[in-house]
């Protein structure tokens, strides 16, 4: 496997039981994501895009197949080793922002670094820089409940990127945002990808988001239907 490959999936399958009826979310997906790519996983509801993103993110396990994240075979990792991989190599941006409500924006951004054992001074400096880079320097002391949806999502992005993860995963990151804020965020993600070489994989059904990505992977019925590279907007 080439050193520039961040994600390598081979023959991934996943079946859920819904009221005793098997639902084949993935039917043998092969996917490779290289360093510096901005990839969208799209498709209709039930196509398997979120399932694939969750398996890539170590939040779910495939029934069969192999998956490597930055060279590590994820399938054989224990629960705690998987948690450690998420902590040290991945960044997450969720649809519902998912900030820790009792922590301020700054503390939320510091959170992962704190788990990683980064010293307090370094941690604070990096968190402030990340917030300022995302235009939230003045909001650092506010709790999530005191921020708008767009601001919360930007804090979530700051939290995800501040540790320089090898891969940033974003699950419907703009689903709860208005179009202006969505565009703002997409520009931000694109900038992170272009200027900082951040590898980003996002699951979405929003054409506006897909339009901002460099590579579009379309899924249908648990299989990759279309995988193309197009010039983003």
């Amino acid at each position: 496997m080439s050193a520039s490959v961040v994600v390598e999936c081979r023959g991934l399958t996943k079946t859920y039981q819904e009221e005793a009826v098997p639902v084949h979310a993935l039917r043998g997906v092969d996917l490779q994501v290289n360093t510096g790519e901005f990839v969208s996983l799209s498709g209709p509801s039930g196509s398997g895009k979120s399932t694939l993103l969750n398996i890539v993110g170590g939040l779910d396990r495939a029934d069969s197949g192999e998956i490597f994240i930055d060279g590590t075979a994820v399938g054989s990792l224990s629960t705690s080793a998987l948690a450690d991989l998420r902590l040290r190599k991945l960044g997450f941006v969720f649809q519902a922002y998912n900030l820790i409500p009792v922590l301020s924006a700054l503390e939320n951004v510091e959170f992962i670094m704190q788990l990683q054992g980064v010293d307090a001074k370094n941690r604070r400096q990096r968190a402030l820089e990340a917030l300022e880079r995302l235009g939230l320097g003045e909001m650092a002391g506010r709790r999530p409940g005191e921020l708008s949806g767009g601001q919360q999502q930007r804090v979530a992005i700051a939290r995800a990127i501040v540790t320089n993860p090898v891969l940033l995963l974003a699950d419907e990151p703009t689903a709860n945002l208005d179009s202006a804020t969505t565009e703002e965020l997409l520009v931000l993600l694109q900038r992170l990808n272009r200027e900082h070489g951040m590898t980003i994989v996002t699951a979405t059904h929003d054409p506006q988001v897909i339009g901002f990505t460099q590579r579009q992977v379309q899924l249908r019925d648990g299989l990759i239907e279309h995988d193309s590279v197009a010039e983003p907007v």
Binding site: E107, L115, V118
Partner: protein
């Protein structure tokens, strides 16, 4: 560093749900304050009973002639060698008193009663209840005093009073009765009527003269600390090898049993109160975990280790318990200070007399009780957090995030 993070999140969550946690905190505070103050009362009652048993002419250690306890007769008496006192360290020895104590019959002009006639050295009786009784008339002047001091209740039963004469009959070592008349020097009020009905005191020398002996039937030894009883008992058993040496627990088995019962009562009371609290604590912690399913899922998704999730629940439980414990203990101590002058139980004098305790209940604070309450409460707090912590750790990140 992770520990600081866990404490920070736990503390903030406690503050966030302050109304609910305040209720729980108040419950812990009230329970702990109740347990602490009630313990001081039970301990006060316990030591009052023990004190009364010791003061009831028993002492911490008592020496009798062999056979006296089965047959209290002057023939079961012994010559006292006062060197025995050197066998007990001076800082442990509060005092000792030699006595001649015999069953006798007392007669007034109108009534006759069975009593215990006790020949004493009044100067040495500062170790028994006699030292602080309320007197009508006079006390005994010295060990040569030929008058008697009788209980107020007995005086009432005999329909006599200070200054009148009584006739007392007891048995000599030869089996023949000895009889003589005594003038009443005074009557004593011993809080409990049971003592007043039983004991008549006179000077030890005239009584020995009446019985034609220089022996005593008993020596009571009072120690400065109850904890020294075992070592004093050992020393006296060695010194009085030919006599019958016993400690107060053997001589006053009812009081000793009550002493142990009070110990048990303290633990039962504590366990009842704290068990009820633990269920409240578990309930609150589970509610807290269930409210934060998504948050715990997020923490797991972001890579927080399971042990840190457990630590969060444990820290929350421990924080509530610790703060409730500290303030509850302080309140309990305040209640103890407020009661320190004692609670007047004279309205229940018959009951206190029956239990062999003073009519003034003075609370007693034992540091070991506070340490025990504190330690056990924290252990219970940790115990209470186990189930909610297990619930928290079982939350699957993906499921939590979906919900």
């Amino acid at each position: 560093m992770s520990a600081a993070l866990v404490c920070q999140i736990s503390l903030r969550n406690l503050i966030k749900h302050r109304r609910r946690n305040l209720m729980l905190f108040l419950a812990i505070l009230i329970a702990v304050a109740g347990v602490v103050s009630m313990n001081t009362l039970i301990r006060g009652m316990q030591y009052s009973m023990a004190e009364a048993a010791v003061e009831n002419l028993t002492g911490h250690v008592k020496v009798h002639a062999q056979g006296y306890r089965d047959d209290p007769n002057i023939s079961h008496s012994f010559a006292l060698d006062s060197d025995f006192a050197n066998e007990i360290p001076t800082d442990q020895l509060l005092g000792w008193a030699p006595r001649v104590r015999l069953p006798a019959v007392v007669m007034s002009e109108r009534q006759t009663r069975g009593i215990q006639l006790v020949g004493v050295d009044p100067a040495r009786e500062d170790i028994s209840f006699l030292y602080d009784v309320e007197l009508t008339g006079e006390g005994l002047a010295d060990l040569d005093d030929q008058r008697v001091l009788i209980g107020r209740e007995l005086a009432a039963q005999l329909e006599t009073e200070v200054g009148r004469r009584l006739v007392i009959i007891t048995q000599g070592g030869d089996g023949l009765n000895r009889e003589r008349g005594y003038r009443i020097a005074g009557t004593y009020n011993a809080e409990g009527v049971s003592l007043e009905k039983v004991f008549i005191f006179t000077g030890i020398n005239p009584l020995q003269a009446l019985l034609e002996t220089s022996h005593v039937t008993e020596v009571s030894i009072r120690l400065s600390d109850e904890a020294a009883t075992d070592s004093a008992l050992q020393a006296m058993t060695g010194f009085f090898a030919q006599q019958d040496v016993a400690d107060w627990q053997e001589l006053e088995p009812t009081a000793a049993a009550m002493f142990l019962f009070a110990d048990a009562a303290i633990y039962i009371w504590f366990l009842l109160m704290m068990s009820a609290l633990v269920f409240g604590l578990i309930n609150t912690l589970i509610a807290s975990v269930m409210e934060r399913v998504k948050e715990f899922g997020l923490l797991r998704a972001l890579g927080m280790a399971r042990r840190l999730i457990v630590a969060q629940v444990v820290v929350e439980s421990t924080l509530i318990m610790t703060v409730g414990l500290l303030i509850g203990t302080a309140c309990g101590y305040g209640i103890y200070l407020a009661m320190q002058d004692g609670i007047d139980l004279s309205a229940f004098a018959q009951s206190t007399d029956m239990l062999g305790m003073s009519t003034v209940l003075v609370p007693r604070l034992e540091i070991s009780d506070l340490v025990l309450i504190g330690g056990l409460s924290l252990i219970m707090g940790l115990f209470a957090s186990i189930y909610p912590a297990v619930r928290a750790v079982k939350i699957e990140p993906l499921e939590a995030m979906r919900n």
